[in-house]
Subunit: 154 residues, 2 copies
DNA sequence: GATGAAATCCGAGTCAC
DNA sequence: GTGACTCGGATTTCATC
């Protein structure tokens, strides 16, 4: 079912990753195939899951979410149930952009976006340390975003 | 210039964030305005920088970038020059998705996507520790992606 | 299997109001 | 802000290889 990608497919993926608003006609020109072929191929890239979605990237500052915070989390116990409960709860928190189970000094790393530091402190005190099984958290305030969500290179 | 957003603009931003492929006609229906109005508003959201871009989200596994790694970096010296040199160099590394200057035990946190652990180890040895001013790095392999790049909530 | 040309249809973009 | 109009692109059909 999921067949291989040729160089045209790869080029389309890269172009769409950088500009999801490209019209089918434009894309067709850029990869040098007919509009019909381009349309069919694009559909396939969606159907077969190469493109998960197309999203507008919102400027955080413009919608009052200028503060970025990384949080390392250590759980009480390392049982499957603990991890499951934590993950289920964290997935519901709308301010959590990333949550990754990692190997090392922490169990999880969270990437969080909120209005400001005061907002984070409130959330930390009420929602983060209240997550199931949390033993301790370590907060890393982001002072400067050097690279944010760069496109995937492949 | 950058005027306020009303509830219609906010709704449009949220809808476009979740589905950047929405046609103007569809979006107009969803927010209950005419197509012409919707078109003008969308243009404004782009022009005034509320929407930075629209991007296709590629499935990393499908393009052989299944390994995610968080790396904490400590620099030798904390001078503006050190930071500048590091940031300039790191911005050129295509496998770096995020790079943030943080307050705490590390100077920077990197989010990196590569093919696999072997690939990371090679890159770590040749490209990461070779970055200007790096004293030490701490690697956190991601064992499970619980939440990845969730849409911004506002 | 794939493609591209042509035909149809519908939405983008612009106008007057 | 809306409604109408035009034009171009999206989508389908079909012949072809």
């Amino acid at each position: 079912m999921t067949s291989e990608l040729d160089r045209i497919d790869l080029k389309m993926l890269r172009l769409l990753q950088n500009n999801g608003r490209l019209s089918n006609a434009e894309l067709a020109q850029l990869v040098d195939v007919s509009a019909a072929t381009c349309h069919r191929r694009t559909q396939r890239l969606f159907e077969e899951g190469y493109i998960k979605s197309v999203r507008a990237m919102i400027e955080p500052l413009k919608v009052d979410r200028g503060a970025l915070v990384m949080v390392g989390v250590v759980l009480d116990r390392s049982t499957p149930e603990s991890f499951g409960a934590f993950e289920k709860a964290v997935a519901k928190l709308s301010f959590v952009l990333d949550c990754n189970l990692v190997a090392g000094d922490f169990d999880y790393f969270l990437k969080i976006r909120v209005r400001d530091m005061a907002d984070f402190n409130r959330i930390h005190g009420t929602q983060l340390i209240a997550l199931p099984g949390v033993r301790q958290t370590r907060t890393f305030f982001v002072m400067k975003e050097v690279v944010d969500n760069a496109p995937l290179n492949f």
